[in-house]
């Protein structure tokens, strides 16, 4: 606890500064347009925000539905302790996606048009509907944490309300909620891949495949546990509690299976398409492919298959970092680096683009910090230090 008090004020100060720094470009954007704060252009209409905030953001929030599934559907109570933080980060992750879109969209206050003008053929439409609904589901899934805390508080008006009623309702519909969450996630995680199916001639053949949706889903599932390992390791460090090693290694154990399937599918697909040779010939873009596959897929498979590594906190943590890195690179590849630009254009993100994304992440960290302070996030799993 001492650690927390000392480190966080400086931490929050830095985060607060980042948030403010991110606000400046947002103001400029609403005055002078997207061109004034970004290097986006007609040749590269989707840039850092879509790759980072949307593509990475949604995938990295996959810890929510995977853990909810593991705990509530597959009944692995052991992981209960990490479920709530996972849901919280997922919920925040999705909120950030939506916030980021409010900057990125040309007509942000028409974002709700997606709900009334349906183009059921558009993968983006599906993503939008799923993301919106799923965010609601996540909010409900997470709400018990809030209600519990509210019911404990001895505050004037709030005290009068019986917080156990909503709590009981939520608990009653918890399983349908979790199932809905999994269904929605399956759909939109894969639809993010479907969106790219529309670019058969601009997305490089090393990545373009009709099974992209499946690859997206698999990689999202694999990164779910990795993200949970990553976040909980960091948060426990920050807040001074420790997570049971068997929870960590248990999460880590699942990863090689999913990644293995993912890798197999990726290779077989290239083979079937007759494009496997591209991994050698398509220089220099193939370097990205190799980096993604070696660092983000093959290495973690090897590492996490070894019990010794699974039993080490550092081993599990760094393996997860590799998985996350691989996924981030993959999402950047498909949505930016390997996606052809119109002739005559170049793109490198403007610092303000990055600043906005950083500010959003800082926002999330602040909220997480507040949640840990004021809500029962980690108490389920407060394991005794080894």
């Amino acid at each position: 606890m001492r650690q927390l008090r000392q480190s966080l004020p400086t931490g929050t100060f830095v985060l607060g500064c980042l948030v403010i720094l991110g606000l400046i470009p947002i103001v400029i954007r609403y005055l002078n347009g997207l061109g004034a704060i970004s290097n986006l252009s007609d040749g590269r209409p989707w840039g850092f925000w879509i790759s980072f905030d949307l593509y990475c953001g949604v995938a990295l929030a996959a810890g929510g539905f995977t853990l909810a599934g593991v705990v509530y559907i597959f009944g692995r109570e052991k992981y209960h302790s990490v479920a709530r933080p996972a849901i919280l980060t997922a919920f925040l992750g999705y909120l950030l996606v939506i916030l980021a879109l409010l900057v990125d969209l040309g007509q942000p206050w028409y974002i709700w048009h997606a709900m009334i003008y349906w183009n059921i053929h558009s993968p983006l439409f599906e993503v939008a509907i799923c993301v919106m609904t799923y965010t609601l589901v996540l909010a409900l899934e997470f709400s018990p944490a809030v209600f519990e805390r509210l019911s404990e508080l001895n505050l004037p008006v709030i005290r009068r309300f019986n917080w156990h009623i909503p709590l009981r309702i939520i608990r009653a519909i918890q399983i349908p909620l979790v199932i809905a969450g999994i269904v929605l996630s399956t759909l939109h995680q894969s639809s993010l891949g479907s969106m790219l199916l529309m670019m058969p001639h601009t997305l490089h053949p090393l990545w373009y495949t009709p099974v992209l949706p499946l690859l997206f889903l698999l990689s999202a599932i694999s990164v779910g546990p990795a993200m949970v390992i990553f976040e909980s390791t960091l948060s426990t460090r920050a807040f001074g509690h420790e997570l049971a090693i068997d929870v960590l290694s248990g999460l880590g154990r699942a990863i090689p299976y999913i990644l293995g399937l993912y890798l197999l599918l990726k290779l077989v697909d290239l083979l079937v398409a007759g494009e496997l040779g591209l991994i050698f010939t398509a220089y220099p873009i193939n370097l990205l492919w190799w980096t993604e596959v070696i660092i983000g897929v093959v290495t973690p498979i090897i590492l996490l298959s070894r019990p010794a590594i699974r039993q080490s906190r550092r081993g599990v943590f760094w393996s997860s970092v590799l998985v996350i890195f691989g996924l981030v690179l993959n999402r950047f590849n498909v949505s930016m680096l390997a996606l052809g630009m119109r002739p005559g254009f170049t793109y490198f993100p403007h610092w303000m683009e990055v600043a906005i994304s950083v500010a959003l992440v800082a926002d999330a960290l602040l909220v997480i910090w507040l949640s840990y302070r004021f809500l029962h996030i980690a108490e389920h799993g407060e394991a005794v230090a080894e």
Binding site: L34, G75, Q107, W118, N119, H121, P123, M198, G344
Partner: protein, 267 residues
């Protein structure tokens, strides 16, 4: 009944009257340009330039050539932009034009990424930007007029009419002057066909046309989207099933556990 326009590069004199007529009809502002060593300007199509003539100097069949080609939205038969558009703001109309409804658009720019020809453009300099592209002068067509660019074209490089008839006309021209044209009508097949069709004296890839197969860009996405309902039902059912199984097993396990305990007690 679907309209199209045939652009014949062997007849185009690169005068760019079409570029100006388009700006005039669509009330588009002039862009600030510089001369960068070519007649071509503005350098690229933008939200304020819906059509543009490209100038290419090249050698073909041992003869030096200066070939012009007009770029604008192709008004695809199976437009990627319309399929992509989240709110259905872009729509392929029966008459040919792919129209845009700014009352719906949210500015997500998916259409821009999804267009195989790189056509839709964005008002990067506006606080509340819209997508902009050639409208095929749908408004003029509605009033029984030809597109502004076609009307203004002095030479007959642009012909407006029924798409089928234009294809026949293009075939006729190739047959009549096989020496003047490459034997390819661009837009008949490409990505499922486009309302704008092209004839050229040199291979299309040499004047900057993308080489595209006849499959529409939309087919894979369409298939994926068709899988959505079954996936939805399937995953929901599977999860419910697993939950039920797991619960049952746990109950059995609990019972067994309790029995064990009792047994122990008994012991």
């Amino acid at each position: 009944m679907s309209k199209g326009t045939l652009y014949d590069a062997t007849k185009c004199i690169g005068c760019r009257a079409c570029q100006v007529a388009c700006k005039q009809w669509n009330e588009l502002p002039a862009e600030k340009t510089t001369n960068s060593g070519t007649y071509e300007n503005p350098p690229k199509m933008t939200a304020y330039t819906f059509t543009k003539i490209n100038f290419t100097e090249l050698e073909h069949n041992g003869k030096f050539q200066w070939v012009f080609n007009k770029q604008q939205c192709m008004h695809c038969q199976e437009p990627g932009c319309a399929e992509a558009c989240i709110v259905g703001a872009l729509v392929k109309t029966e008459g040919g034009p792919v129209t845009y409804d700014e009352g719906k658009c949210i500015g997500c720019r998916y259409c821009m990424v999804a267009c195989p020809f790189g056509i839709p453009n964005f008002e990067w300099d506006k606080p509340l930007p819209w997508i902009r592209k050639c409208t095929f002068c749908a408004d003029r067509q509605g009033a029984g007029l030809k597109p502004a660019c076609v009307t203004t074209c002095p030479t007959g490089a642009l012909t407006f009419g029924e798409r089928d008839e234009l294809i026949a006309e293009a075939q006729r021209r190739i047959a009549e002057h096989p020496d003047k044209y490459v034997n390819h009508i661009y837009g008949v097949q490409e990505v499922g066909g486009t309302s704008w069709l092209y004839l050229s004296p040199v291979p299309f890839e040499e004047i900057g046309f993308p080489t595209l197969p006849s499959a529409p860009v939309t087919i894979n996405a369409e298939r994926a989207m068709a899988a959505v309902p079954p996936v939805l039902v399937g995953v929901a059912a599977a999860m419910a099933g697993i939950y039920w199984l797991v619960q049952r097993q746990q109950k059995i396990g609990q019972k067994a556990g309790e029995e064990e305990k009792q047994k122990e007690k008994v012991k």
